[in-house]
Symmetry: C2
Subunit: 415 residues, 2 copies
């Protein structure tokens, strides 16, 4: 099946927001085995939306719309598609009840335009909106399938993941579904990973092997079509085994979770706790770790000692270590070690980790941009320090330093 994703919204054409919906939907449709051939963005203009429908019908079997389901007069997707198909619009009772309930529970008068969000194209399947008020729609006419989803990602995602996919699966019917498994790697760059798997990637037929990279992490999706989950697992397992043979030490998860979540999970199962001391990363490590829900059980907290005075005041590092003729300085192996050791003791945690270096834009202490020391102090063990020479912008250096530390920590917890 060939699909086209059509995002409706003038704010996209003005560049006020980025079209992340297209990425999410493309991934989800690919995972179902549906090929996306085009993505289109069109403004809140009825004639141009209509033209986009005509064009898309010529090149796709499935048109997935996002946006334009809201209450305002700018929200036109349902109206235009209904007119194009010569169908009417009717109130979807459960959606209308939900809207009225919400307003009465808030004791607020309901503006009449909110009724528009409960409208449904006649003869379509209503798609429940678990996170908002606008009901979605799905229908088939003359061999073309149409699906209408809301624009805000937090409403769009649960709708496609729930009732949207259910509807698509019935469409796909007898076609063999696509099964896939995501492998996540750390401590290895995308090009290095690709080089090590090149012959596998080039020879791939079934399952397919698709690598892609995010800053500091690399993922591989292994996919195959099969009649059953068991049949798929058999095929995928064999490929995964070949991959693990070559780069298994970098594989931290067989599901789509960030590295910090894998670290928190490991700490949890091994009943250990972590504290952090950051300098150049400025709290990014703490922020990533605490973005994992429930991390307060494993992460006690930490310090962001951006200045030498704070390294002294909070961690008790002697100023003579940090400043003056012949001192190692804040950006040094010994300061990194001290930071990790002191925060581990202060927090009475099992692990203390630290990051100190030069994120840029300018050098510091006469040391070059990108020089970063990361350290891991484990209760009762020798502290280990890793010097890194990173490249990229200030932001990228910070991210890479933090992800490298998380990878080293992930290895350390397992030993």
């Amino acid at each position: 099946m060939k699909a086209e994703i059509i995002a409706v919204g003038t704010e996209l054409l003005l560049g006020q927001i980025v079209n992340t919906n297209a990425q999410y939907l493309s991934q989800e449709l690919a995972a179902l085995g549906i090929d996306v051939y085009f993505q289109t963005v069109v403004g809140d203009n009825p004639e141009r939306i209509r033209k986009a429908i005509v064009t898309a019908r010529e090149r796709a079997d499935l048109l997935v719309f996002t946006g334009g389901l809201g209450p305002t007069l700018d929200d036109l997707t349902k109206d235009v598609l209904a007119a194009y198909l010569n169908r009417g619009l009717s109130l979807h009772k459960p959606s209308m009840d939900k809207i009225e309930e919400l307003f009465s529970s808030r004791g607020v008068h309901m503006v009449e335009s909110n009724r528009r969000q409960a409208l449904s194209i006649d003869g379509s399947v209503p798609l429940h909106n678990a996170a908002g008020l606008a009901v979605g729609n799905a229908l088939t006419e003359d061999g073309t399938h149409y699906m209408l989803l809301p624009g805000p990602p937090r409403e769009m995602k649960p709708m496609i993941d729930g009732p949207g996919k259910e509807w698509l699966r019935t469409l796909l019917g007898h076609e063999q579904p696509l099964y896939s498994r995501l492998l996540k790697f750390a401590g290895i760059g995308e090009s290095n990973l690709e080089a090590k798997l090149l012959d596998l990637i080039e020879a791939q037929v079934d399952p397919t092997i698709a690598p892609y990279a995010k800053e500091g992490e690399v993922a591989i999706r292994v996919s195959t079509k099969a009649a059953t989950q068991a049949e798929a697992d058999g095929k995928i397992d064999a490929t995964v085994e070949q991959i693990i043979e070559r780069i298994g030490e970098h594989l931290y998860a067989q599901e789509d979770i960030p590295l910090e979540e894998a670290v928190i999970q490991l700490l949890r199962t091994s009943r250990r706790k972590l504290a952090s001391a950051e300098s150049c990363s400025g709290g990014l490590l703490a922020e990533l770790i605490t973005s994992v829900p429930g991390s307060s059980g494993e992460y006690t907290g930490g310090v962001v000692t951006y200045t030498n005075e704070m390294k002294h005041a909070l961690l008790g590092i002697p100023l003579a270590q940090l400043e003056g003729e012949g001192a190692p300085g804040a950006i040094s192996e010994s300061t990194a070690a001290l930071m990790a050791e002191r925060v581990q003791k202060l927090a009475n945690s099992d692990f203390g980790v630290s990051i100190t270096g030069v994120a840029g834009p300018a050098e510091s202490e006469g040391k070059p941009v990108g020089l970063v020391y990361i350290a891991i102090s484990e209760r009762g063990k020798e502290t280990v320090v890793y010097p890194l020479q990173l490249s990229g912008s200030r932001t990228i250096i910070r991210v890479r330093a933090v992800k490298t530390l998380l990878y080293r920590l992930w290895l350390a917890i397992q030993n």
Copy 2:
């Protein structure tokens, strides 16, 4: 002039990357007064790229392509457009020299396919690539303008900003250029801001007033076409004055900077320093502040005291304040005040700020998700605590708490 942005790349259709180029180009074209009516994404397939050109020609005067200029056989944009226009491709000597120079300086044998990056459509204007090897192209035929830009954002941006815009400006010729000014607001929601400016927004003709929102910040772009900067300034000033009259206390910048940068600037000019103590925000405040280059002069650092033990160990807050029958608890007005005061004293800074609350997903201390206390302690002044009741996901609650604190701090520094 009507434009269509066409991104070429199968990786976009697979959802491996998000199309940030479309956003950037839409903003830049809008700033030149060029209307973007459609954005299209098409894969690395010659027949479908050709169809995308045919469709775009029917609905736009200017086609801006990104991607498909690289060395591999998948990079097809120039080939397909040249064939469509019945033109040839020739080597652009300066680009070829640059490629050969690069390879010989590295002492690496040049793979023949790299020559493809120096190809230029006959009769087109070559666009210099300041950050990479693939040369861009610009040309006009039969009243349609074509511009070919590379896909990687770090190559695309300097090309459009430099030679790309120069070429577009000559196209626009006698048309008056568009001038605009960005106003940034904090401490006010988008709907509230719109409500206060509704009559101005509805009556707008020239200058135009376009509000848009990012999490915790709201921006307004005021734009007008004029012959000179001075003429534009006169018109824009008058509109800005009307806006300031109504919501001036929320206006923190007349340029596109985040709130944390405005706070750092204010601290710098008033020669004051800041320290932070975070609980539920987990380092997000520190991370945002230190993402501003040069912030180490104004931000000393802080603590992320995620557990009660750390609030006690690092800040010396009595455990009796935090736990046990009748204690105020970690999520309380008095703990927020203590955290701000203690970190201000520890850092010997002018301001100490704190955030403690329930980011979710579950309640804590029997207190509801979204309840957050923020506090500001200023040397020699009474500490001020603000209780907030925020809604949204864990991530959104954290961002809103931090941005609200930054807004309150921004006000406090000025008093």
